[in-house]
Every structure is written in C-alpha cells, then in structure tokens.
Amino acid sequence: MSRSVFNRNRTRSGVADKIISELNDVDNEDMEVEFKGYMHGGKGFALEILNLESISERTLQLWKRVIEGKGLNPCIETDMMSGKVNIKCVENVRQSRKPFMKTLMYLSLTLTFIYILWNRHQSLK
C-alpha cells in the first residue's frame, strides 16, 4: 500500500509570474525562465533560466533589481557549463527587535551599577 506523505506545490504564485515575465536579456533571445518550485517552509521559490550563451554583470544586476522590487531577496547561482542560472527568491525576514532590547537592558544595568559604585565612593569621602 502506497500513501502520499507530501505533495510538492506546483502552482505558480502571482509574484513568481510577474518576475518570470520581467526577466529577459537582449543577448539571449532563446532563454527560457522556468519555475522550479517552492522552498521548505514557504521561505520563497526558485527559478531556473535555461539556454544562456553568455551572461553579463549588468544583466545580473538588472535581474536582482527586478526581484528586489517585488520585496524578495535574490540569490543567484550561475552555471555557464550547462548554460543556466538558478535564482532563489527568498522572502525578507523582518529583523526581530529583541536583540536591540537586550543590548539596551545590559547597557542600562551597567550604567546603574557604575552610578551605585560612584555614589558609594562619594559617600565614603
């Protein structure tokens, strides 16, 4: 008996569709952009660009800007041996305010102890 544990989601999101339509390059007219799938835990999705003959830094920067414009973080891996580029579009993780709060707490504690010590020193004079 065979039962499914998990089925990979294959439906493309609206954001992915928009990015796919905006990624192009004048030097590679035959290039194809494919949706590879989603990352574990809904952290983002991956795209694969095929049939690339050459790739310039300018094009990569342009693609980065397209993805960043949609509020995602691009992670681009080029594999010119196979003429393809893998792009991982990762959702921006909001920085937690907790580390800042902790620093503030330690700083205020240190200042309080310094003040107590200074106060004691003054009273002994």
Binding site: M1, S2, R3, S4, V5, F6, N7, R8, N9, K36, G37, Y38, M39, H40, G41, A46, M81, K88
Partner: protein
C-alpha cells in the same frame, strides 16, 4: 562458474585530460555500463577548468548507494558525486592529475536538521517506527532547500520511502544519513529511469539481518 563479462568501452583520448584521468573516466563508464539498463547512457566531459574536471553521465541506470561508493573508491581525487534525479544525471567532479591543490582533510559533512512541516502526513507509519522515519525525513529536509514529493509504501517488514522532484543530492550527505540510521536503512536506490530515490527502512519489529558498514575513501599511496 563464469565471471560476468566486462563491457567493452572505447574512449578516445581527450585533449584536456591526462592519461590517468582518461583511464578513470573509462573505468567509471565500465562499472556503470555493467549495470542493467545502461544502454541509453550518454557521457559529457567538462575539462575546461585548469584544476578540475567533471564527468556527467546522462540517463544512467538504476543505482544503489554501494554502486556510488564503488566510484568513490576508484579515485582519491574525487571532490563530489552528485545525483540529479530530476534531469537523470550523475555528476562526478574530480581534481586533475598532478594538480597541486591540496586535498582538504575529510570532515564530517554538516547540514541543518530541520523540523518536519505540519502538512507532512505520517499517519501510515507505526508509532514505534515514527521516531526513525521522522529522523530520516528531517535529515533529507535539512540537506535540501526545495520542496519535494514524498510517498511511503508500506509492507510487512519495511517502509519504502520514495522521494521525487528532489533537487541535486550530494552522495556524501546521503551516505552520512544512511550511516546515521544504519540499523534501519537497509537499501538506498537512485532510480534514474523513474526519477526517484527509494530508501528502504526496516520496521522496528523486523529482525536485523545485516548492518551497513561505512565505506572509507581509498587513501593515496606514496611509492618511495
């Protein structure tokens, strides 16, 4: 008893490869060609880089982890062996002959051990087998970043964990997981024609018949 015949492989000298590297490529093809279903296999070689070369075998046959380990033992300069089941490719990357690049000491490979997402259905697994099945899945999830389709085929003594649409897998990572769960994982099959990987996991109430031993990479011999 007749010994199994070695397939005839003729490999013309490649301009970017030293004789010993060409011989290694030839031997790899011989080993894989001896397996059933290797008739449609194609070879691609990338030798443009100055220090390393890549062998890409397209449409290889069904292979076990032991078959992969055979390749690993054939050359001490292998950097990585990767199985791309989606595109049916086996990629072997190795250092070129006489390359000055020092081989790094092999360290235990590390990958994140991530939690199983809540939408994973493991209701078909017995309570006493859940711990190791979940452990194996956690490790596979940790070594990949993309979602993949998984399925469990249950039988009286074993569970067949079938993974499809999975990204390129490093054989070293798989071997580490198999070693970690060696009391449970009885077989690991890379089924290229079916584009899936099957991990056979023993049920806890099935007696152990054999335990896999870790295969160590062949050490480089120094002749003085």
């Amino acid at each position: 008893m007749e010994s199994p015949s070695v397939p005839q492989v003729s490999f013309s000298k490649h301009s970017g490869l030293h004789d010993s590297d060409s011989r290694f490529v030839e031997e790899v093809i011989k080993v894989i060609s001896s397996l059933d279903g290797s008739s449609s296999m194609k070879l691609k070689l990338f030798t443009k880089f100055p220090t390393r070369f890549t062998i890409i075998l397209c449409n290889p046959p069904k292979m076990t982890l032991d078959d992969m380990n055979q390749i690993l033992l054939m050359n001490s300069k292998i950097i990585s062996i990767k199985a791309d089941l989606t595109s049916s490719q086996l990629k072997i990357e190795a250092y070129k002959h006489n390359d000055e690049t020092k081989l790094k000491r092999k360290r235990s490979v590390g990958f994140d051990d991530i939690h199983i997402p809540s939408d994973y259905d493991l209701s078909m697994v017995d309570k006493k087998d859940k711990k190791h099945i979940e452990g194996i899945l956690r490790n596979v999830l940790g070594m990949t970043t993309m979602e993949f389709t998984s399925e469990i085929h249950t039988s009286a003594g074993y569970y067949d964990l079938k993974l499809r649409d999975i990204e390129c897998l490093n054989i070293e990572y798989i071997a580490e997981v198999v070693q970690k769960y060696r009391a449970f994982i009885t077989e690991t099959i890379f089924d290229y024609p079916q584009h899936q990987m099957t991990i056979q996991v023993r049920r806890n109430d099935t007696p152990i018949t054999s335990i896999r031993q870790n295969v160590s990479v062949r050490k480089k011999l120094k002749v003085r």
